[in-house]
Amino acid sequence: MDTLNELLNGFAAALTWQNLIFAFLGCLLGTVIGVLPGIGPVAGVALLIPLTLNMDPTGSIIMLCAIFYGTAYGGTITSVLLNTPGEAASAITTIDGHAMTKMGKAGAALTIAAIGSFVGGTIATLGLVAAAKPLGELGLLVGPPEFFALMVVGISLLVALAGKSMVKALISGALGLLISMVGIDPVAGAPRFTFGMDRLLDGVSFVAVIVGVFGLSEILSYRKGESTVVHAPGFRSLLPTRNEWRRSAPSMARGTGIGFGLGLIPGMTGSVASLLSYGAEKKFSKHRNELGKGAVEGVAGPETANNAHANAALIPLFTLGIPASPTIAVLMGAFLQQGLTPGPTLFTEHSEIAWAIIASLFIGNLLLVLLNVPLVGLWTSILRVPAPILTALILLFMVIGAYTINFSVFDVFVMIGFGLLGLALRHLEIPLAPMVLTLVLGPLMERSLRESLEISQGDFSIFLNRPISAVLIALGLLIICSPLLKLRKPKALTDDPET
């Protein structure tokens, strides 16, 4: 009961009109920043921290959390409408989100993304309220071997993303791993595949690769005469149909689970959550065959997972003082600047502020929906621009987006290069999603493998001796073998009447 009381006090503190205005402003500013290409939540929050420095601690943290949600959602808007992810975590949303736009269902996609974010964020925050401490400790059980095993499960979802040919999926996956190797070796510091170019020491920028591979290559692949990029939606199609709602619900549930679980693990990022959620939809959704062609599940799952991850990642911050993801680390910086040290002492020393912030997480999630669902109409009106002009605008957007990642023209060339690569892959009918999956998971997998083997001093049995990692590895193997063993649902169940 204590917790409930304190939470209610927190709501009382967060619901003052000043704090509500801060939350609202934060959501609005965040959304606008998110829509700007290249600037994701990390840069967005970091840019706006100075604005909040002279405010009182509660108000400023509330505003920053709101900015954080806003930017994450703003990134989705460009993914869906313009096929240009505003940030890494919404990259995978471009696949089905933009396909929905082309079918004239942009409004539905954006609404579902907003609702999914709300659901994921709210449930994760409930988890924070109900069981922060045990959940935080749970995250610590995941050491390097378990992390590696989890990555094996992630990579195994490549099977689900394969489409027609497994060989082609593996080619795509290997390509992603290869690209992820470019840059300085994280342990020994030796340059790999940099061909003596300083620019490549950092590796290639993920957002530039994604924009090129998904966005640019698609525009390049339009054939002459195929001038219509997208259909402008009619008013009615702004809202999802009842069928779309029904189909989204299980995806949101899966997305919440995946995002929440991964959020507890220090070192995971929002893009891993959204990618694995997409993989899970491909593998387990009833309508998995439609994924990639504008299925609402491909938006609902990743967007929910992304936001559930963002909110769950606050649990290690509040309970252990560990910033579990880059954005959280920026928030942690803001806490420190306000004289608040995140960690268990926050609740003993500044209990009122801590609970007000938690209350504001609920409010921020809600405000985001209230702000953005009515704005969906405004955003989608961008599609009324005639197709040739819109295509040019999208191209412009992509170039600016790639440029603003590091303010470097090099990234623009990376984007164009990967656009051409994407075009070639499309012609060869090699699926693009496996490449993105391995590109994101590769570095995390390498890191955890090396750490594990240093712990065991070279003994591979460490992955099988530890129960959590053994179970995860078995699960990964099961997923890989499932097409062979026909472990999928019996045919009668697959033939859903709705499809």
Partner: protein
Amino acid sequence: MSRKKVTAALAAAALLALTGCGANAGATSAAGEDFPKKGKTIDLVVAFSSGGAVDTAARLVQPVLEKELGTNVEVINKPGAGGQIGYTQLTSAKPDGYTIGATGSPSVVVSPLDPARGAKYTRSSFQPLGRQVIDPAVIAVQPDSPYKTLKELLDAAKAKPKSMTASATGLQTGEHFALAQIQETTGAEFAPVHFSEGASQATTAFLGKHVDILVANVSDVTDLTKQNKARVLGIMTAERSPSLPDVPTFKESGYDVEAGTARGYSAPAGLPDAVAKKLEAALQKAIEDPEVVKKMNDLGLQTSYLSGKDYETFWAGQESDFKKVLPMVQKKD
């Protein structure tokens, strides 16, 4: 809204965005008298992941710097390869004052010494602007560990070399040097596990009991000790730290080991004098700001300011020290 109006509005927005970029890429004046231009962001490159001690210090200094310089200062994290990625980015930036970076030893001192690392910079690629802190290394065990004193721990490690894992943050990082110095002086050998993303990741693994020994800096363990989540057995410095008054030094326990990290801020070499002066003055203000010093203290970090020139001398001294033990921390396999 009519179709034309929307198109016009979009075109205007695109134009606006483009001009914005143009301003950002604009040329700087050679003398740097007008540094910093209002509205032009100064990047503060942190070569370690966010949340670690280097990052936190930079984020505390950043608002005061903004006030002093009158423009935006953005902390940018470029973690990996024990700082080498971030330092490469820093030293390859244009020396116009709009890119500065946090520089920490031993990483910044050591990485160019080993040709195998292929570092593209040397000490002379940096222009030191000021030192902020020195942060001694410590060794800690799990709270339920059977080892109550440093001697017990080191004797056990001597009896069974490499039987215990100890955290480090990459080859030739401060923790790795500390481990090598312990081995050199006392004969106790631990098996290093490198957490390349930095101290917060190493601490997380220690909290989850995935490594036995935490080798870190005072600042990393101050909070953990308060929460009784780590038992610090020794501090590698001449005097006890005010943040951990109960922890004996290695010297007190009979081992002559001193190791630790020093952190400050530098720019790429070749800064115009006027720019360097402005940055140095602003940094001194920020580092010695009473609020910042207090918050650093709360985090277990002792502020120890040195001017750019003195920081450079200190840096050179460290370089010659590290050269001596370097062979021990180079990759053998």
